[in-house]
Symmetry: C2
């Protein structure tokens, strides 16, 4: 999954549409097949909060923490569609039509009876999807700001080359998903690039 | 959900049994009805990582952060069984046989390409369940250390009175679950104690 970008780049959005779809969904079963209104957009996954949870990070970044951003702590939660998760459990790799959603929420501090540490804000700050769809050229990132469908992130963007170079499995950051990493080891599906980068550690 | 206790109290366990059940589950559908080997234990929920994710906190505590514990940061992830989640979405309250599982994982720092912030450890540090079972006297906490069934936490323990006094809905900390809090507001199911405590904020 694509890390949270530095705050200034990612922007801060109140994510009304996505939040509403999460709360108001009537169907018990989530629809998980990606769909697209046109060539450069992806429809918002409706029930992704009811998919399989992979993990949460706090203020993860490719870069050392930037001075002055300490008061903008954020959580990122990652979910994957259940069909893809079940396939990964069996095989250690992602099938076609895998959809991973990363949502970003603010890290709230002291409130109610919580006196230290952080919990997650109700409002979404933004979201991204990382979608494996062979009918659309393989893995693609989409960025969601709460206003309608997500926008395709151009393939020349750094996220593609970085995921390619550092993702533990098939351009995804399985190294940060605690229940998937043992499966990838067991199935021997760790990428050559990842193994080389982490050999001797 | 029961907050993470201070590190010294909670203890640090490598959670082999629970972790193995998460990774090795063959069934696509999770079994979510609580079961008990005897009057003071609860069998480990097998597939709780495939239940509905509620939220994650970092180093949440009832007490201000204790000096000297800064290098033991921990994430707590909370899951609830799908049947209970669906009932809550419709009604804003928890049904009989609600099972909430809180798992604790270490907060890892710089590793792989992550240069700042935190991601979650593969090994579990411990887990607790908060179970509403009217055949067993209502809400009950169980503590899991990875060695067999969970152990009932006696009803005189502080967690019961604290959840009773401060939980936003039916002795549970819905105030820290970002997608449930709007439902509770909408359904007007916030507890009187919570509303009184938070009035004027």
């Amino acid at each position: 999954m694509h890390f949270k970008l530095p705050v200034a780049a990612f922007g801060v959005f109140v994510f009304g549409v996505l939040a509403a779809s999460v709360h108001g969904a009537a169907k018990p079963e989530a629809e998980t097949v990606p769909s697209y209104p046109d060539a450069t957009h992806m429809n918002t996954p409706v029930d992704y909060r009811e998919w399989i949870y992979l993990s949460t990070g706090l203020d993860m970044s490719y870069a050392p923490r930037i001075a002055g951003t300490a008061n903008h702590s954020m959580f990122d939660n990652v979910f994957v569609n259940p069909e893809a998760y079940r396939y990964f459990k069996q095989n250690g790799v992602w099938p076609d039509k895998t959809v991973m959603v990363l949502e970003v929420r603010g890290a709230e501090g002291a409130a109610s009876i919580n006196k230290s540490g952080h919990f997650q804000s109700e409002s979404l700050m933004g979201a991204e999807a990382h979608v494996k769809d062979n009918s659309r050229g393989g893995w693609t990132f989409y960025s969601f700001d709460g206003n309608g469908p997500g926008t395709l992130i151009p393939k020349a963007a750094d996220c593609y080359s970085c995921h390619e170079a550092h993702g533990a499995v098939d351009t995804t950051f399985v190294q940060f998903y605690p229940t998937l990493m043992p499966i990838a080891r067991d199935k021997k599906t760790l990428s050559t690039a990842y193994q080389r980068e982490n050999s001797g550690k």
